[in-house]
Amino acid sequence: MAETQTDLAIRVRGLCNRFGTHSVHEGLDLDVRRGEIMGIVGGSGTGKSVLLRTIVGLQRPAEGQITVLGVDKSRASDDEARALERRWGVMFQDGALFSALTVRENVEVPLRSVPGLPADIRRDLADLKIAMAGLKPVARGKFPSELSGGMRKRAGLARALALDPDIVFLDEPTAGLDPIGAAEFDTLIRGLSRSLGLTVFLVTHDLDTLHATCDRVAVLAERKVLVTGTMAEMLDVDHPWVRDYFHGPRARAALADAQAHSTEKT
């Protein structure tokens, strides 16, 4: 690896995760560079979400070292860990919004941790984040139960972006969205990542999302990261699962679609 430590947003070495006797990860290594959009793919049960949860600290690994933004999580003090948590945002699969709060109040929750931020600025910043996530102003006063799945995801993204994080973790951002909504979400993620300099850690099944947004892809199989590389490099990998995944009929359709888009643009 040519990267130096400071270029890496996330560095995982020798990660092991076990549930009882069942081992999900054995000696998993992964590097995510600053400013890139890293897509994590893998079959069901290969521990994509477990990896995400381990990196953000919701799951304690059995073994291994995780360094995020230069901070080794196992050695960090409580204060360092808390400071680190404010430098990333997590969007859960269904938004994980607080059901008792409106969308605006949800986005204001992380902003409340900023000392000395006046309430009117906090409200305006929340409204800005809601608009940046592509939600209409009418959504601000609504409760999560009144929103559609796609709107909940966008509200979850707005909350994840509230404190201008360096890294956002997205768990299946386009699952359950219709193709138009999913494509809009892809564009949104790509645009936000580029303009705000975000590093994006994206767990997905969606081949269109991989083509449309990701700089690099990491394939999880056999309890580790089997291979990382660009989408083009994935096509040359000689592994049964990777070949089936990136050469299947759906993959070809997504590829053709992505190529059609890129020729349109030029």
């Binding site: 902003l111 600025i121 910043l125 608009a131 940046m132 102003p137 139960s145 201008d164 705000l196």
Partner: protein, 392 residues
């Protein structure tokens, strides 16, 4: 539109001067048109200071903003700058962003694009007509709720008649299962509750009646209050608490996961499959539970009367048979089917009102319990008046 300006050579010197100072600073210069010099970290920590500084910037002429000395810019800082741009725009003047680092220009661009332009109007004050409207809507909603309960009762009766006419469609296994859940499993708590009520009545009654030397009437006191009112009423309240909520939770979670809709598409009638066995089980079990409660209450009363007053069980029995007619028991138990229908109908109706989220399941479950208990007490009061009028 923000863009890195051409005069990048001027930027480093000012940046050097202010590099050590992270506080956001706003300075106006007006040689050759107004120029705004920004420096420091324009981030969320200093956004209040930045906004205060920008508030005094005049909006009567086009403005150039020099961002060469900006150390950091996040969306909060960009929001403050976008607000300034919007004010100038409203006044009909342009803003030029100069010397911005490419990353800062990107953020500023993004924020200006997505800045929500509308200002929500505060909710209008409630007028008298609004209040009247709220009252009217609440009244109609209450009536509609009552109508829906009646509809549920009608639906149950219809399907019950159908089941009697066509017994092969009837689900006996489900009925037995629910009888076990509703009836047998409730016996311990009902027995304990009634026993303790009997004990308390005997104890309190004897200490009062002793003052008049009328201890022996404690038997009448216990018998009439338990057999006629308390036995069945408290049983119904306990059953409302444990069974109405169970009905709502079971049917509601099926409704939430679209199982009820699946039944429709498979040609199964939810009323037949879900409501009839449950409400019928309640209808069969509540009188039995009431009877059990009566026996347990009398036993508790007799035991306490024996301990406290030395009234032997034989004496208690004689007094009971002499003083209290069979119709006292019948009056009490005659209420059981009505209470059972109320509890069952309220529970099933609330279950069908559950929407596709977990909050509504919790809300409807507690609403079902409150409605069922309240309705049982109201019905009991109505029975009291009714029996008093006909003189039973």
């Amino acid at each position: 539109m923000p863009s890195p300006g051409p005069a990048a050579d001027r930027a480093p010197s000012r940046a050097d001067d202010l590099a050590a100072d992270p506080t956001p600073r706003v300075q106006m210069h007006s040689d050759a048109g107004p120029v705004l010099h920004l420096s420091g970290r324009l981030d969320i920590a200093g956004v209040a200071t930045l906004r205060a500084g920008l508030r005094d910037v005049p909006t009567d002429a086009a403005l150039r903003v020099d961002m060469g000395a900006v150390q950091a810019l996040d969306t909060a800082g960009a929001w403050a700058l976008a607000g300034l741009a919007a004010r100038l725009d409203a006044a009909g003047h342009a803003v030029t962003w100069e010397n911005a680092q490419p990353a800062h220009a990107d953020i500023l661009d993004r924020v200006i694009q997505s800045l929500p332009d509308d200002q929500e109007s505060p909710p209008p004050a409630q007028s008298l007509t609004d209040r009247l409207e709220t009252l009217g809507r609440a009244s109609v909603a209450g009536l509609r709720f009552f109508a829906e309960l009646l509809a549920m009762l009608g639906l149950f009766t219809d399907r019950l008649v159908r089941a009697i006419l066509r017994p092969r469609e009837f689900r006996l296994t489900a009925l037995v299962h629910h009888c076990h859940e509703v009836g047998v499993k409730a016996v311990p708590i009902v027995v304990l509750m009634a026993f303790l009520i009997g004990v308390v009545l005997a104890f309190q009654g004897s200490s009062q009646l002793r003052q008049f030397g009328a201890e022996v009437f404690v038997v009448d006191l216990i018998a009439i209050s338990i057999l006629r009112e308390l036995g069945i009423l408290l049983t119904a309240i306990i059953v409302a608490g444990r069974t109405a909520s169970a009905f709502t939770a079971a049917i509601g979670s099926m409704k939430m996961r679209e199982e009820v809709d699946a039944m429709h598409t498979l040609g199964l009638d939810p009323a037949q499959v879900l409501f009839v066995p449950r409400i019928l089980a309640l209808l069969l079990m509540l009188p039995i539970l009431g009877l059990i409660a009566n026996v347990a209450g009398l036993f508790g009363g007799a035991l306490m009367a024996w301990i406290e007053l030395g009234l032997s069980p034989g004496m208690f029995r004689v007094r009971l048979v002499d003083g209290v007619g069979v119709n006292t028991v019948l009056v009490g138990l005659s209420k059981a089917p009505v209470f059972a229908l109320i509890i069952g109908v309220v529970g099933c109706h609330a279950g069908m009102k559950v929407q596709s989220n977990a909050e509504s399941l919790g809300r409807m479950t507690s609403a079902a319990v409150v409605t069922a208990i309240f309705s049982v007490i109201v019905a009991n009061a109505a029975f009291s008046v009714f029996y008093a009028q006909i003189g039973v």
